[in-house]
Symmetry: C2
Subunit: 353 residues, 2 copies
Amino acid sequence: MRAVGGIMDKSGSNKGEEEAETGRPTLKTLAFMTGLGVTTVSRALKDAPEIGAETRKRVQLVARQIGYRPNRAGVRLRTGKTNVISVVLNTTEQIGGFLSDFIYGISERLAATPYHLVVAPYSHNNDPMEPIRYVVETGSADGIIISRTEPSDPRVRYLTERGFPFAAHGRTAMGIEHAYHDFDNETFARLAVRRLAELGRRRLALLAPPTALTYHQHMRGGFLDEMDRHGQSEVPFSAVSSDNVIDDIRRHTIELMQRTGRPDGIVCGAGGPAFALIAGIEAAGFKLGRDIDLVAKEPFNLLQLVRPEIHVVEEDFRLAGHDLATAVLSRIDDKSAAPMQRLVVPTDVIAPR
Amino acid sequence: MRAVGGIMDKSGSNKGEEEAETGRPTLKTLAFMTGLGVTTVSRALKDAPEIGAETRKRVQLVARQIGYRPNRAGVRLRTGKTNVISVVLNTTEQIGGFLSDFIYGISERLAATPYHLVVAPYSHNNDPMEPIRYVVETGSADGIIISRTEPSDPRVRYLTERGFPFAAHGRTAMGIEHAYHDFDNETFARLAVRRLAELGRRRLALLAPPTALTYHQHMRGGFLDEMDRHGQSEVPFSAVSSDNVIDDIRRHTIELMQRTGRPDGIVCGAGGPAFALIAGIEAAGFKLGRDIDLVAKEPFNLLQLVRPEIHVVEEDFRLAGHDLATAVLSRIDDKSAAPMQRLVVPTDVIAPR
DNA sequence: TGGCAAATCTGTAACGTTTCAATATACTCA
DNA sequence: TGAGTATATTGAAACGTTACAGATTTGCCA
C-alpha cells in the first residue's frame, strides 16, 4: 500500500501543477500558490492552532486576494453541513400575506452568516409533515423554521425526537421545550376587549384564527376571560376563521350584522381579514365607530391609514423572522443550550386618529 | 495501473459488503442490494439505453421501495448542477409586499420539479450586483430570477454575457433578448387616464415607480400620451415615488393637495402607496369620488374592499412568479431556445362598487 | 551522541455522484 | 474457426472538502 501510495502521490501532485489556471479557485489552487499541502491550507483557513501563525496569515492573505470561496457541495458532501435554513410555508396562507416581512426578517438575520434561506412550500391539501420529513431525511438543511404551530404539533414532536434544530412561530402545549417566537395573542385579545369596553361596547364577536392553531386558544381565552371581567357577552362568529378567503369572511360578516343580536364590537385576529370585516359591516349598512367598533391586528401599517376609525395593535413579522432565524442558528450551534423562547407582548391599542 | 486497479477493487468491494445497513440509501446500497455495480445502478435510474430493460426495471423498483433519493451534494459536486433557483430580492422593497404572492407563484411552479428556491436578499444601500455575482461565481444556483429591472440593467448584461440562465420581472431596453414577465404598465396608465377622463377629471398626477426602473418609463409614457389625447394636463408629483415610505408619500400628498393647481385625479402605480395617497388626500380635507378620483393597482384585492370609491386594476404577482419560474427552467433546459417573454396586458379598470 | 517531544506540515481516504475507458459475454458473418 | 460487433456491465477517477494517521523538522535534555 505504501508503494502504491508513493506512485499515486507522484501522479497526483503532477496533476495539480500541470493544471491550467482556470475557473474558480479551490483548496488545490491555494495549495499550489502557497506551495503548501491541501490539508494545511484547509486548516490554515479555519485558524487551526497546529498551523504556524505565519503560514496561517500567508494562506489567508492569498485566499482573500484571489477571492477563494469554499465549495458548498464539497463541504456538504464531506461534512453533511448544508449551511441552509429551510422555512416551511403554507402556500395558501393568508391574504396579502404578512409573509414578505417574515421572510425579510429571516434573510436579514442570515445575511451576515454563511447560511442560505430556502423556501419550502406545502399546499393546504398536502401533509404538513411532508416537507419536514423531506428536509430531515435528505439532510437538505441544518435547521427548520415552521409556522402555524399547533398545540400538539406532529412536526415539533418529529423534529424534537430526531434532535433536528428548529424554531417555531408560535408555541405548543405538549410538554416539549422548544425554540419559538410568539406574539402574545391572549394579551392582544384582552387589550382589544378592554378597549371595546371603554367604548361602551357590550356584545362582542371574535374573528379568530383556525381552531387547530395554538394561538386560537390563546386569543380566544383572553377574549372570553376579559369579556367576563367587563360583563360583556359574546356573539358567536365561528363560521369563519381568519384563514378563510376574503369573500367568505365578507359574506359571513354581512350575515352576522343582520342578526337580531348583532355585535357592537369585533376583535379581529389578523390583518388581512379586517378588510373583509369592514366591507361586510358596511355592506350590511352599519357605520364603524358609530354602530360598531373594530380592533384589529395591523401588520403592514396600511389599515388605519385608510380607515382611521378602527383601532389597531401592531404585530411585527419582520422581528418574528429575525428572532426565529436567531433561534435556529443558536440551536444549530449548540443543541444542548436552552432554546430561545420569546413572547412579544403588545402594550397598547392605537386609537383612531 | 491495471494491477493496482485489481488490488483496489478487492478492498473497495469488501467495504461495500461489510458496511452495516445504516442511514439513508446511496447508490452503493442499491448496488449491493441488486448485486450490480454502482455505475449500472446510476445509469439504470436515469433510463440510460445501454442498460438492459429488465435490469433497469429491477433497479428502479428497488430504488422506489427503499425510498432512494439522490444525494444533492454528490450530484452537485460531480456535475455542477445545483437544482436551485435563486430569487434576488430587495429587502427594502415596497410596503406590505406583493412579495408573498410572487414567492408562492415561484414555489408552486417549482414544487413538481427537483428544484429548490433560495431567497437571496440585498438591501438598498448594497450593490444589486453583489448577490448576482455571488451566485454566478460560486455556482450556487442553476438559474436566477431578478426584479426591479432597469432599462440598462447591469445584471442583465452580466448574466447574458456569461450565458447564465435568468428571467427578469420587467423588461429592459438594451437590445438584449432575455426572458421576462412584465405587466403592461403603459396600458395600465392609459386605462387609468381614460377612466379619469370619462369622469371629467382634467388635472392629473401620477405616483410613479422610481425613475431608474424600466416600468417607470412605460407607465409615464402611457400616462402622458393618453392625457394628451384627452386634453388633460399633468400636475407634477415627482418628489416621491412608489418606493418611498408610507409616511413620506402621505406628507407629500397633503402638500400636493394644498397647491392652488391641485389635481382632480391621481394614478397610482402600486398597491401599497395607494393607501398613503388616500390618507393624504383626506388629511388635506378632500373627498375621494367627489373632489378627486384615484385609480390604483390592486395587488391583494383589499384596497377596494375598504375603499369602494376608488378605481382599481388588478395585477397578479402569483402569475408573475409562476411565469418567471417557468421561464428560467426552460432557459436552464435549453439555453439556445427562444426566451419566454410575456407581457400581461390589463383590460379593464374595476369601477367603484 | 541519542532519544524524545513539540511544532508544523503532509498524503490518503472518504463523502455520493457521474463519466470514461474498459471488460465480459453473446452473437454474426465470412 | 476466427474476427468483428453489439450488448450489458464494470472499476477507476474525479468533483472539493475534511478527518485521520503519519511524516518531517527543530529544539531540548540526559
